[in-house]
Symmetry: D3
Subunit: 161 residues, 6 copies
């Protein structure tokens, strides 16, 4: 058996039909995941979002909240994702010269990992930010949405190299 | 009045408080938007998703559906977005050597544009794809989520340069 | 052009890809639809649901509410359905000897019909009823969920023959 | 016909069955509503929420966002409410000595009023605030949630006396 | 005490008021349920859904996904259902001469059974299929939605006779 | 360290950023909460809701259902609330001379308390009632929404004094 058939698409069966994979036999363990991404925009927009390094008004709070609430909506947005206990979510937004870096860490003690929750939170936070700045910068983009680290479960720790 | 105050963050008021902007006085016109993005992965994954250029099983269908349903969930995911009539959504997925290009077009006849719906659909389709391939490629990323064209409303046509 | 290509599956394109069909060019007209179905159960259950022809407690109200709220959730449950203005919903439940007949009428003034809303309401009402009686009759079934009449739009009136 | 039968419960029919009232024949007009309420807490909590009259951190932003998103969820929370176009929402939070006053204005151009959207936004903002302060003040309460003014539709202006 | 009072409607209390039954004292055990149903249509529609026994395009995938996502939405659709961990869902669609048979198996390790999740998935898959074929066959119906087998919990195995 | 810094706003971090607090290390214990509130209206409305002390039609059932379903929607309505297993909900509605008293008890065996679920259920039941009576009494208000008792978790029993 080749490596690629051993490592196939677990979410479709042998006939190609989509399914929600049965995880009832997996252990309940502490698990966490960190995902990152960035909204790439203009220096003008960064100036509108903060002043002297401090946030101005609710704009970053809106993105942070969209991230936290997006993490909770993950099983509704990602068709084959399991509904899962979500025990903690933090969303960090770091404005740079012409971009806002987004980093989300999700935690649970359940039967599957929380990478999709972290990724969905990054995307929701990024899109909420784009929504607020699109009148000023219609060309803003969301880039580099990816998992950087996950912990727990059968595979233990995985760190993006 | 400076250019930057004329083009401020419309979703927060003068005191910085978030709000859903009143659009009741805007015209109902035909509007559309196209957004794109890409899931960057490995050639092995592309081989699992298709065979001889044809899709294998439901994997691409899952991503397409996630995109269409994601477009409908936009006002639930993006805090300050208006709930809007959504009259059409198409999601195109084009596998390349080591990536899947995503392009979404959304259409409406309503009082606000549908860029956020197109962007949310791209993100949902991309994340659904990452969910299906993450056991094979935990390092897959979603990149370049951005609007490429919008039509209708007061500003008429805007094309990404 | 053959009859079958003229009357193909409108929700998939020529390549077989699912899409939300663009209805922005369709007229806003008054539309309504009626759908029916039945929960088939036992005379014992009918006795528990009513007494002397009158409802006992909230059981039928729960099913009626599930129907009305189910109609509103249609675009969330049916992947390719348009989110639509829903202007009226009535759910009629008629207990018989060993069954409860369900009839739902939905109304709108919008660009697409409301058959799916009526069908979804019938299914939600029927399943909510089964949920309440399943401890007494685990074999209850939901049968004959179908549209009986629709009005409005390009095709005018359609009545099940 | 008596006054009380003329002014009955419109959301139930003559037999007492709940229904979503048909509004398809009502006019599309500009409508707005204002609702208010207050979270009653302690001076210690007010101190934690702000400093020198300025908000500290995201706490008030969270309540404001909960209000705006709650307004959008109204048809999901209130069983017999119509899904409606919502064109604008503002949430004002005014900390006092031992309470936070909440005032929400909602706007639409549709066939029914937006009082329920304003009331739901007040409740959601108030409950979100209670959630954040409950570790410090488990006895906080939400009081006086009521409509103070509505405009538009057949009845024109109504102001709470 | 008669058999029928011993086996009353558990979802309403002695006064007839609806409630969500307290299950906190029930054991967490592995549980599964299988439910079936069928969309009854025409041979022409079956021809459009497949060709030479193979699915054509995304139509069956849409119904399968609607089923899986419908299972996750069960506590939102069925008013008195508990929100539950859902650990696995498979949806099998088998086209026949003039019908598509639907079979869904749901699995969990939790305090209540997953019959309602299986039934809701069957209904959602069936209605999604009807949505896609209704332009060709407006008379299609969903029939025989019922539980055929459940496993786990206090009652152990139950098989439809 | 002062009392007020020891008992700060747990839902925001030291920099004021909102977060979903990590509860994965908290014990799974049986927990319950009771919250109350009241809809204050007119004697005429109370007469429409019941006759001779008995409910007329579905109106109180609608409010009860809105409460139960509202409890399930709590993590969707309250931004920083954890999605939680909800094991039981009862909603008691007691009509008085010119008001309807609402009392909700929620139960779980999970890592966090269920006060917010009880409060949200009271608010949803109260608002659903106001929705049904607003054509007769546009001045109805929801008052005194507050927790009266909670049990379980690290703090054990808390009773409102």
């Amino acid at each position: 058996m080749s490596a690629s058939s051993e490592r196939g698409l677990t979410h479709v069966d042998a006939a190609g039909a989509a399914r929600m994979v049965d995880v009832s036999a997996k252990d309940v363990t502490a698990r966490s995941a960190t995902a990152v991404g960035a909204v790439v925009t203009t220096t003008e927009v960064i100036g509108l979002l903060q002043s002297g390094g401090l946030p101005k008004g609710d704009a970053l709070a809106v993105a942070r909240l969209a991230g936290i609430m997006g993490a909770k909506k993950t099983p509704d947005i990602i068709p084959l994702c399991h509904p899962i206990a979500l025990h903690g979510v933090t969303v960090d937004l770091t404005p740079g010269v012409d971009r806002v870096e987004i980093s989300v860490t999700t935690r649970t003690a359940d039967r599957t990992g929380v990478e999709m929750e972290a990724l969905t939170a990054v995307a929701a936070a990024g899109l909420a930010l784009i929504d607020m700045i699109k009148a000023v910068d219609p060309a803003a983009s969301l880039d580099g949405v990816r998992v950087t680290r996950k912990l727990g479960g059968k595979t233990g720790e995985w760190v993006r190299s």
